[in-house]
């Protein structure tokens, strides 16, 4: 697998800072987020509710709420800074070059319009084709996203389709104008696991077929493992750690990533979960130092005073924690997590051994 970060960068987000005006003050939702999306890759942004991951996605699409202020930073796409261009210019990008899939398929579809028409409308709006051609294209798209009996489904209203089918229609609409970039904001959170599995497989397949670059936003680390080439872990409006998917899952460095990984129920053991004590900070007045410090059992004095910079772990792997400073004491990840990762690595070794013998 090619994990070089020097691939062509399609989307470059730099130091993005977004606040919302509220009754009692400014909520600092995103505080200096930077990430790069290489062509044909999936970047996953993981975090809990309120970590700023959805606001980041909405900034890219230019659909922030009216009380949002982009304080600083840039979103570079195709030579333009998406934070600076006019709404009119944005209309040539949104839905055409960058597609978007939301969490809830029912609220992103028009309930009183047949689904076929909703797809053709998108095509007719943006491409110079006849109605008949648009219909053909829409049917093709529906087949692409795995909808059976397309001719029949074309005439259905959203309420006549199951949740999984609706999400497929939403994906078909997002892909109607062959975008370069697809932004998926929790696309499978509202779906059942078996349906989720099929939708994720489908998105992965479309990614290779159409050479899509995907920004995938989720809170579910299992889904991330399935989808991502690169992972960015967000907490309290900041990226706290990023790297390739293998680096984040097998060699996590930030205590928040540790906590997130070890609070997931594990199928292979009945160990008590390592819950993260407390709750996320109030973003009206974010803490001075590391925002995670008050919930962090490994926090040091400096964590409460000064924001840690990114420390380099490898060329692609960085983590913002003082624990990586040369003067910091040696702290190992929690034992539960260490054991779990070791088990996964052993499993991996056995798998390769098994395959090696099978090939001979």
């Amino acid at each position: 697998m090619n994990n070089q970060i020097n691939d062509e960068i399609v989307l470059d987000v730099q130091d993005l800072t977004v606040s919302f005006r509220g009754f009692v003050g400014k909520v600092q939702a995103v505080r200096g987020v930077s990430f790069q999306l290489p062509r044909g890759k999936t970047v996953a942004i993981v975090g809990e509710s309120g970590s700023g991951k959805s606001v980041t996605a909405k900034s890219i699409m230019g659909i922030l709420a009216g009380n949002a202020i982009i304080e600083k930073g840039s979103i570079l796409y195709d030579g333009d800074d998406l934070t600076k261009i006019s709404e009119k210019q944005f209309q040539d990008i949104r839905g055409k070059k960058i597609g978007l899939i939301f969490q809830d398929p029912l609220s992103s579809l028009n309930p009183i319009m047949k689904v076929g028409k909703q797809i053709t409308e998108m095509i007719l709006e943006n491409q110079k084709v006849s109605k008949k051609e648009a219909r053909e294209r829409a049917l093709d798209l529906m087949r692409d996203v795995g909808i059976p009996d397309v001719e029949q489904r074309f005439e259905h209203y959203p309420f006549q389709l199951s949740g999984g089918m609706r999400q497929r229609i939403v994906i078909a609409i997002a892909l109607a104008n062959e975008p370069e970039i697809l932004i998926c904001d929790e696309p499978t959170t509202a779906l059942d696991v078996t349906v989720q599995a099929r939708i994720l497989d489908m998105i992965n397949e479309l990614k290779y077929q159409k050479n899509l670059s995907i920004v995938f936003i989720t809170h579910d680390l299992g889904v991330v493992a399935n989808m991502a080439d690169f992972v960015y872990v967000m907490y309290a409006g900041k990226v706290v750690e990023y790297g390739t998917s293998e680096e984040i899952f097998f060699n996590p460095k930030h205590p928040y990533t540790w906590a997130l990984l070890s609070s997931m129920p594990d199928m292979d053991s009945k160990e008590k979960l390592l819950a993260i004590p407390g709750t996320p900070p109030n973003m009206l007045e974010p803490p001075v130092g590391d925002a995670f410090a008050s919930r962090n059992r490994y926090a040091m004095e400096i964590d409460f005073k000064e924001q840690p910079p990114f420390f380099k772990v490898s060329d692609t792997h960085y983590a913002a924690t003082w624990l990586l400073h040369e003067n910091a004491p040696d702290v190992e990840m929690p034992e539960v997590l260490r054991n779990r990762i070791d088990r996964m690595l052993v499993e991996e070794e056995e798998y390769h051994k098994g395959r090696g013998e099978g090939n001979q």
Partner: protein, 304 residues
């Protein structure tokens, strides 16, 4: 136990068999996990047990007493005394106009404890047990975070010392880190108080983590019942296998090569000739299948 919903009348009458001929038992002090996807009838099963619905047919026994008969004040009293419920949505299930003390104390007052000091004492001690403090008692639900509200819901359920708790998706509305807190809390309460729990959820990893035995539901039928580890190590019913293969694991290497099993009930089984029923394939491991399927499942495990 069956629960059918009727809509329309005469020719246009439609019957939704939400729960169809489901049989299981829960031992004292045990946690029984009921999993399945949306619409499989797991919630209806739970609600029928506390008699929010009257089952269409079948019997339910609680501590040896029949609780499926016609509802009367004695039976209502019996069920509300013995069974408590924890709901999914911690926002909707707490009355916004009541303080935490009123919410938790209400169950006690209904049960005839009139002495305010006794109620207060019990409320404070239960708040401590669920990881809140007595200062929280005078506050209203909106002042709490999602995880804390679910703690209040749990406190309300266990303060009346029920024989059984039905937890319907108690953690699915919460963030992962908070989810772990609540699971750990339920786990320690289970041990301390010897609670019997019916744990209803769609997330298999959570259910597996928490339950002693697990029942898998599909389209209103219970298709497989076994001990938690047994079910994960030796899933037999094709739907259980499909469900297990669909869970994403936090392991990028194994995720990228895994094959998922798909399941279509109509294609997999041919029940036109043979009637399916619950069959014990392995010790304490029941599967819903026809006699010939049972035969082939058994053969499969003999070979192993």
């Amino acid at each position: 136990m069956s629960m059918y919903f009727y809509s329309g009348s005469g020719k246009s009458q439609q019957v939704v068999k939400a729960v169809d001929d489901v049989t299981f038992h829960i031992y004292q002090g045990e946690t029984f996990g009921l999993v399945g996807e949306s619409g499989c009838g797991k919630t209806t099963t739970g609600r029928s047990i506390i008699r929010l619905y009257t089952p269409t047919s079948g019997e339910m026994f609680l501590d040896g007493e029949d609780i499926s008969g016609p509802m009367n004040s004695r039976l209502r009293r019996y069920i509300t005394d013995k069974v408590a419920m924890i709901f999914q949505d911690p926002v909707d299930s707490l009355n916004p106009r009541m303080t935490v003390r009123e919410i938790i104390g209400e169950g006690l007052e209904v049960r005839g404890i009139k002495d305010k000091a006794v109620v207060d004492e019990k409320v404070y001690s239960i708040l401590n047990k669920v990881g809140l403090t007595r200062e929280h008692a005078t506050r209203y639900p909106h002042e709490f975070s999602g995880g804390q509200r679910q703690r209040i819901g749990i406190a309300r359920a266990i303060v009346v010392e029920p024989a059984m708790v039905i937890a319907d998706e108690p953690v699915s509305a919460l963030d992962v880190s908070i989810q772990a807190q609540v699971i750990n809390l339920l786990g320690s309460l289970k041990e301390d108080l010897g609670l019997t729990i019916l744990f209803i959820a769609h997330d298999l990893s959570v259910v597996k983590h928490f339950s002693d035995r697990i029942g898998v539901m599909y389209y209103g039928k219970l298709v497989e019942v076994a001990e938690a580890d047994e079910l994960y190590d030796n899933p037999i019913h094709p739907y259980t296998r499909a469900l297990l293969s669909a869970i994403p694991h936090p392991n990028p290497l194994s995720e990228k090569r895994r094959r998922r099993i798909t399941y279509d009930g109509l294609e997999t089984h041919d029940y036109s000739v043979e009637q399916p029923s619950m069959v014990e394939i392995l010790p304490e491991h029941f599967v819903y299948c026809s006699p010939s399927e049972a035969e082939s499942y058994r053969r499969e495990f003999k070979r192993k």
